[in-house]
């Protein structure tokens, strides 16, 4: 099991647009995770907030933060505060729902995102654990439910058409350049999904190497 925080830059950083690292920068990160997992043009986003997120999302700028993330912006992007308008200008229907009940994953800063277009839907359940760091507790792609350990980094491989040898090769590469502490393989009717919980943060070069060598790999 990896520690929740694994870098001095989780504590000193990120450089970000205010006002809240958990409710703004962390929310951008949650939105970005959904954007990467969806990996295509987005038509509609529904955000369900729980507990502290439900109570303070308006004051903390969580709405524009998630809207920024689902458009792929980084936390320090100057467009972050205008991201809800920008999303709507791009034709993305984005809605925010305040849930009354407790978080389904027992964390006060929980958001569940449903991201969709006419072809497919991705659902993501994540929480913001402070200082801009997040955990991804569950996502559903092509009706396959994946429950990662939580802390990033996470590598996801969507094995379209079940080309098993690719997954074996990927596992070998990941083991070598980005050691993991847990791996899951989940079988779906059309595709399989492989998920790796990685021990340490990956460098940009490592991410690039993996994403270049394997199609349909997502590094979160």
């Amino acid at each position: 099991m990896g520690a929740k925080f694994r870098s001095v830059f989780d504590i000193i950083g990120p450089t970000m647009i205010g006002p809240s690292s958990s409710h703004t920068a962390g929310a951008v990160a949650i939105g970005r995770a959904a954007y990467k997992l969806f990996n295509g043009p987005i038509k509609k986003v529904t955000v369900y907030y729980y507990e502290s997120f439900a109570k303070t999302h308006r004051g903390h700028g969580t709405d524009y933060a998630i809207a920024a993330g689902v458009q792929g912006f980084l936390p320090a992007d100057p467009r972050v505060p205008r991201a809800v308008e920008l999303a709507r200008q791009r034709g993305i229907d984005i809605r925010f729902v305040e849930e009354e009940g407790p978080s389904p994953i027992h964390h006060p800063n929980t958001a569940v995102l449903e991201v969709e277009n006419d072809q497919h839907v991705v659902e993501l359940t994540a929480c913001s654990i402070g200082g801009g760091s997040i955990e991804i507790r569950q996502f559903v792609i092509d009706n396959i439910t994946v429950q990662p350990a939580g802390p990033l980094p996470i590598i996801v491989y969507i094995d379209r058409g079940k080309q098993h040898p690719n997954a074996v090769e990927l596992t070998g590469v990941v083991e070598k350049i980005a050691p993991f502490y847990r791996k899951q393989s989940l079988k779906g009717p059309v595709n399989d999904i492989y998920e790796f919980d990685i021990k340490n943060y990956m460098s940009a070069a490592t991410i690039q190497q993996i994403e270049k060598q394997f199609k349909d790999v997502i590094c979160l």
């Binding site: 694994r6 504590i11 000193i12 950083g13 006002p19 109570k55 303070t56 460098s203």
Partner: protein
């Protein structure tokens, strides 16, 4: 990865290295990046902090969209030129930097989260005051941030740094403890004294609740960073004077975790209890967001 403050203090004491040096080595080991890359990234964070402080204390200052906060770093700056502050000029210089940063944060400006955005003023407040007072070089300032970040990592993994899980003690309290440890090192104190300063800083803010009015990061967050900076400097001075906490730092961190878990949800970043729940707090919320929330 260092899993306790005790481990960090022992490693620093035995090797004769600074805490900053140990944390730089740890970061290189964990990230696979070389020393230059790690150093440069921290240098950029330092520049972000410097820019935020300057922005907050220049001209008329900055104001948030709600106008609940803003302009007070400039008031402090002017006060310091007209009067001799009761708590001393160095103390109010630190407070000025802390408030300047959080005013920029409340105005949706760019800040460096240290460890969070809500507590982003505490560390720069301390650091830029010490820059003048101890004539710190850029290298020493970057080392200050590695020390603060390294001990903060232990707090984050053993207690947490989110107001929603641990209250303000987890945010401003953590920032204050990080700043206290780094201030001791900047003043050539021992690693053990850094740990003592952390213990004292945590102990003195234990139980601090997160009660933001209207769920904004303005009242009381901006001024909480003033006390975070002040508390850190007092704790650092106490430790440098040879005063001790009696409760080991790692146990203080455990206590912070337990206290945080014991706080009701109304005092953990829900904008319901504490100052947010006062008649005036509720009235401000209604004025900004209407009565439906």
């Amino acid at each position: 990865m260092y899993d306790s403050i005790q481990e960090i203090v022992s490693a620093a004491t035995e090797s004769g290295n600074s805490i900053a040096e140990l944390i730089i080595e740890q970061e290189c080991r964990l990230s696979g990046k070389n020393r230059d890359e790690v150093w440069q990234r921290m240098a950029v964070n330092l520049q972000t902090m410097q820019a935020a402080v300057q922005r907050g204390e220049s001209g008329q200052g900055v104001f948030s969209q709600t106008h609940l906060t803003g302009g007070e770093a400039v008031k402090i700056k002017n006060y310091r030129t007209r009067r001799h502050p009761l708590s001393g000029d160095a103390m109010m210089a630190a407070v000025q930097g802390a408030i300047a940063t959080n005013e920029v944060n409340a105005a949706m400006g760019v800040v460096c989260a240290t460890p969070t955005a809500g507590s982003s003023g505490t560390l720069p407040g301390i650091l830029f005051m010490l820059k003048e007072r101890l004539a710190l070089t850029e290298e020493q300032m970057i080392n200050f941030l590695f020390t603060a970040g390294g001990v903060g990592l232990v707090i984050a993994n053993h207690a947490g740094i989110a107001g929603a899980t641990g209250g303000c003690q987890a945010e401003v309290g953590s920032a204050s403890a990080m700043g206290a440890a780094a201030a001791v090192e900047a003043a050539s104190g021992t690693p053990e004294q850094s740990a003592q300063a952390m213990s004292i800083a945590i102990s003195n803010l234990l139980g601090l609740v997160c009660d933001p009015i209207a769920g904004l990061v303005e009242i009381p967050c901006v001024k909480r960073n003033a006390i975070g900076a002040g508390n850190a400097l007092i704790a650092a001075d106490l430790a440098l004077a040879g005063c001790t906490s009696k409760i080991p730092t790692d146990e203080c961190i455990m206590a912070m975790d337990k206290v945080g878990r014991g706080l009701p949800a109304s005092l953990r970043e829900t904008g319901m209890g504490g100052l947010a729940g006062t008649p005036t707090g509720q009235a401000i919320k209604a004025r900004i967001f209407g009565n439906e929330v």
